[in-house]
Structures are given as structure tokens and as C-alpha cells.
Symmetry: C2
DNA sequence: GCACATGCGCGAATCGTTTCGCCTCCACTG
DNA sequence: CAGTGGAGGCGAAACGATTCGCGCATGTGC
């Protein structure tokens, strides 16, 4: 592999001159040609490791996500990547596959590999650990959280207005006449899941529906209308069935992410329950799905593309050292596709 | 940020000794402790750029995929990552979003960033370009193709036995009594798509069904039973409708990837055509989906996990310089979930 | 024709590691 | 007790780039 020294020899110019030219500096026209020719002849390409060692910048960004098997994150990443690429950065994506240790490991490896910034959809990692990671190098690593925030960790974040998302969904169900409404949320230690639950509670409250919901069945057991799943297919499937097996099942249901929506729809299908007709239903994210099933589903769609774009923009500002007012938290509105069932 | 020199000063030992210990060498017990203590006290972490500059290895692998919004690739990546991680490598994923230029760019950037190996699901890039990229550095960059091969590019590959996948699917349709069978394939310059078409043709041939299929409509136009889509939702949607609008539409259909299957199912739904009942149907990949729709769909499931794992294993062997017999092409069997429609 | 500003080119130091070859020291053997 | 061998430590030279400060031309204004 040829180095800048070879280019120097081939062109008869000094290292400094070559380097300067290669980094956008001015050289005499004659020398410009000689360098170009030498580079071409030798097939020279800069060694990024050497450059990074010297400059302390890699022009790469690490993206850490809980999984890559869900369209939601794929779509965020796509927009993110495009925004960063336009500014000359390359993004490297890692998934931690919902594994706590892996999440930490990936973050550490990225820092060590000297990315210039990190985009993170955090799940298990604590504020303490994040602070440690962010300051592992001399200066503070630029970082932007997406989709989820970590309580106690002060950081730029791009999130959905989750509260209003479920508020709107539940409100719609109430307007359709429902009073006994169930919800399947994700693990409450994920901020997103928690906020969605709060939105649900508040909607009920505002409409004067008793929130400490659930009734008691004939055995006197409390029948809880807030079920906590794990954001996966099985949770949606299982909790849907649990709801329907209650003595006094809800007449409407809100399911708050993609996989759980898929699970719930599957369970409904197996029980011959027609969503939207037999019970009220609002799902999340599965926009494709709502074109397929019949009747169409009401779905909350999240602005994944915008989210990725904003995250990229904020990170870019931080990386170029632009002084921003304290951590920015951008809250994006989701969109409720409201399909009303008609006979 | 502290360096190995600081550790040296703090511990009173030489650079060479520290480095040796940090890389698994033996030092006296007493020194071991002093180094550990110094590292801890200073929060020292090796600078990977410097290390890579010296060793010419990064312990990272680049993974290049056409998209991250499809579960198929997410699942391959997950298995891949796990396999590589167990061997001490970190994988960085890039998507080229079905963009030809981006595909090239991502590959080049990865090579320049000095990954130790590359996993690629190639689409537009030519054998010539790939050879160039593979040899851009002094030695040949270890590389494994997944899911797709590039004609003329000699390389380890892990692919599906696509021919038998569609052969089996079509055979099943034939056994169910169909004779006028359509197929929606992907762009024929993707090896995978091409092979799937060949499997379709061969099945028809073997069962003595005229292959240069399609009939003529009343206007004398040829009605083609092989439709070429672009592996996306819209293609599936559009081509399904085209088939159904024919004067003499096929009585059964095979759709050969995830997105197109989704598109076709959606179109069928909108036309009130019940797949499996009104027309024979076999889709690809959408395993979740077939639990949802009614009646269940017949689906070809690809062994994504195994594919990722094998790809990782082969790449590891190449990277560690293990001499393998000439390029290995591993062909994995897919699995046909055969759901027979009963009244 | 002279002094001065300006634009370019160059030498050399530096980034943080690894590694080669040599040296020291100690324990063991005969 | 001298000789030997092996383990572990050390100094110094890389790896391939960037960059600081200096010096040499060339061009400008008087």
C-alpha cells in the first residue's frame, strides 16, 4: 500500500505540501497536476487511522439501537444516515438486541473506536453509566438520544410526544363511546412506555372516567386495564388474550408499539375478533398492516424520518462545537390515522 | 486523555512492558499489580487508532446491506454480529438504501476505515468494481457475500437455494391442481431473483406445463406470467393488480420476497380476493403475516439466522488467514410452510 | 530600484501504539 | 561455584499522517 511519502517521492514535492493540498489547501497549478498524477499512478489513499491519530477526529458517528429487525428503527437510521452523510460523516450502526450488557459494550467500543459522536436509543443503561461513557475521553463525547430518554441523564434528545399520542388515541376511543378501555404498554423503565401510560391515564381522567380502572371479577380479583408487555410480539399476543379472558373485558384496546400490535392483531384473528368492529382498537407504528387487515386499523404513526433527521442535525451542531443553548429536547408530534368503522 | 506513557510514568515501568502486558504477555506479579493500579487510577484506555496504525488490524467488520427496514436483513445481521462478537470482533452496519452510488461509497469508506473484513449483500456493484475494492489495500480484503452473488466475482458466499425454494413453492401449487401460475420476481440482475425465476420455470417444465407461458388476450397481446418487480411493496401491489386485470388471470401466484408479498396481500385484500381460497398463493419471508391473515398463507421461510452465522464463520476463517479451499459457496435450504386451504 | 507584503513550499516534530533485538537477572545443574 | 538457559524488562524505531514556523520567491507601490 502506498503512502503519502511515495506520493512525495513520485511528485518531487514535500510531505507538507501534499498533505496541505489533499486537505483543501492551495498549491501552484503545476504542483497540483503533479500531485494528482502521482496519486492516480500509485493508487494512493489516505490512511484514516493515521489521520485520526493525528487529528483526533474520525468523521464517523456511532448509532446504537435496541434492534434492527423493526422497521421503526430502520427508518430512523435511514434518515439519520442521510443527514450525517451530507455533512461528510459516515454512520456505523450497532444493535444491542435488547441485551443490557451488549448495550454497554457497544457504547464502550464505539467510544474507543473514536467515533466523533453517538446517537443512542437507550434502554437499560443508567444515567451514571452514560455519564461515565460520555466523559471517558478527555472532552465530552457529543451524544443525542432518540426515541427514549434516561431520567437523570442531561442530554440532547429527539423524542415523540408520547403522552399526547396515547391521549389522542384513547380520546378517540372515548368519543366512539367506549368507557372500559385497556392498554398494553411497554416496560415502564423505558421513558417512552411510561409516557404513553400517562397519556392514557390523563385522557380517562379528563373525561371523568375512573382511572384506577379495572373491575373485580366474581372471585373478587382486580382486573387490571393497564397491562405491561415487553414491546415484543409475544407480549401483545399474550396480553390481548388475557384481556379477552377477563370476566369483564375492555370494550376497546390501545396497543403501543409495532411488535405488540402485530401480536395483538394475530391473537384477535385467532379468536375471530374483528378489531374496530367487535372491539375498539388503536395500534402503533404498523402502518403497512392497517392496509392489509379488514376493516382498516386505527394506527398511531410516528415521524421516524423526521426524528432521524433532527437527531442528525443536532448531533452535527454539537460535533462542530456550535454553542447551543443547554440540552435540547425536541418533541415530535405523532399522527393518528383514524379509521372509523362503518357497517 | 491519558496515554500509555502516563501509565509508564505512574508505574515506573517501560512502555514496552506495559504494552506487552496489555496485550496478554507475561509480566512479574508485582508489576502486574502496578500496571493495573496505574490503569485504574488514570482511567487509561488504549487508543485504537494508534494501535491500528501500528498493527494494521482494527478488529472490526463492515456489514453492508441494501436496507435496514426489512426484518430479513435485521435477522441476518443479528446472527452475524453475535458470531463475530464471540471471536472478539465488532461489526459496523451500513445500509445503502438501494442506492447504487451509496453502495459503492459505503464499501470504499469501510475499506478506508480499515475494517478487517466485509460482509456484503450486493446489488448494483459490478465484479470489476468489487475486485478493485477488494484489492485497494495491499493485501486482499476478506469478504463474504450474503444472500446474493455477483456473476464473475469469485468470492465466498452464503446464499439460499433459491432455485429449489421456488421450485417447491410452484410444485405445491401444481399439486393443488393449478396450471396457470404467475410469479412476481425481483430485478433479474440480482442473482437471487434470477434463480427464483429459474426454479419457477423448471417446475413448470418438469410437470409438462408449457413454460413460455402467458396466453394472448382478445387484443392478441401476450399476457406474461412472469412479472418483474423491484422487491418493494409497490411492485407487489402493482403486479398483483396487473395479474388480476388480465383477461385470463393466473389461478395461482408466487411472490418472492417480503415487501412484494406485503404488497400483494394488500392488493388482494382491497380486491376482496381471498388468498389460498380464491387463488392459490405462496409468499416469501413474511412469516408473522401468515399468522395474521385468514386463511393462513403458504410462505417460504429463509434461514436468516443460519445465514448470518455461516457468513460470520467463513469470514472469521478468512480473516485469521486459515487456508480454505477455494471460495466457498454455501447454499442453505429454505423451508416451505405449506398451509392447505380447507373449507 | 528598494522595501515590504503575500503566497507557497519545506523540515521536523508529533500523535499513541507495537515490536525487535538486546540486556539483565535469577535459578538450576553438574 | 561457574556456566547456562529462560523469563522478563527496556530502548528505540517504526506505523502514516498533520501542522507549526520559517524562508524563499514573486509581485506591488513608491
Amino acid at each position: 500500500m502506498s503512502t503519502i511519502k511515495d506520493v512525495s517521492k513520485h511528485s518531487g514535492l514535500s510531505l507538507a505540501t501534499i498533505s496541505k493540498y489533499l486537505n483543501g489547501g492551495n498549491v501552484r497549478d503545476e504542483n497540483r497536476q503533479r500531485i494528482d498524477e502521482a496519486v492516480e499512478a500509485l493508487g494512493y489513499r489516505v490512511n484514516r487511522n493515521a489521520r485520526s491519530l493525528k487529528t483526533n477526529r474520525t468523521m464517523t458517528v456511532g448509532v446504537v439501537m435496541p434492534t434492527l429487525s423493526v422497521p421503526f428503527f430502520g427508518s430512523v437510521i435511514s434518515a439519520l444516515d442521510q443527514t450525517l452523510r451530507e455533512a461528510g460523516y459516515t454512520s456505523f450502526v450497532c444493535s444491542y438486541d435488547f441485551d443490557r450488557n451488549l448495550e454497554l459494550e457497544k457504547l464502550r467500543v464505539l467510544c474507543n473506536n473514536n467515533v466523533d459522536g453517538i446517537i443512542l436509543a437507550a434502554q437499560y443503561v443508567s444515567a451514571k453509566e452514560l455519564n461515565e461513557i460520555r466523559n471517558a475521553r478527555g472532552s465530552e463525547m457529543p451524544m443525542v438520544l432518540v426515541d427514549r430518554t434516561i431520567p437523570g441523564f442531561v442530554c440532547d434528545s429527539i423524542v415523540i410526544d408520547n403522552l399526547n399520542a396515547t391521549y389522542g388515541a384513547v380520546e378517540q376511543l372515548i368519543n366512539a363511546g367506549h368507557r372500559h378501555i385497556g392498554i398494553i404498554v411497554g416496560p415502564l423503565d423505558i421513558s417512552t412506555a411510561n409516557e404513553r401510560m400517562v397519556g392514557y391515564r390523563r385522557a380517562l381522567q379528563d373525561y371523568g372516567i375512573h382511572v384506577e380502572t379495572g373491575s373485580r371479577n366474581s372471585a373478587g380479583q382486580h382486573e387490571e386495564l393497564i397491562q405491561i408487555g415487553r414491546y415484543d410480539f409475544e407480549s401483545g399476543y399474550r396480553e390481548f388474550n388475557n384481556f379477552m379472558d377477563m370476566e369483564n373485558p375492555p370494550t376497546a384496546l390501545c396497543v403501543t408499539n409495532y411488535d405488540m400490535t402485530m401480536g395483538a392483531v394475530t391473537a384477535a384473528h385467532e379468536r375471530n375478533i374483528i378489531l374496530g368492529k367487535d372491539i375498539g382498537f388503536v395500534g402503533f407504528d404498523a402502518v403497512d398492516l392497517c392496509r392489509i387487515v379488514s376493516p382498516p386499523l386505527s394506527i398511531v404513526e410516528q415521524p421516524t424520518h423526521l426524528m432521524g433527521q433532527k437527531a442528525g442535525e443536532v448531533l452535527l451542531k454539537r460535533m462542530t462545537g456550535e454553542t447551543l443553548p443547554h440540552p435540547q429536547v425536541i418533541r415530535l408530534k405523532s399522527h393518528l390515522h383514524n379509521r372509523i368503522y362503518k357497517e
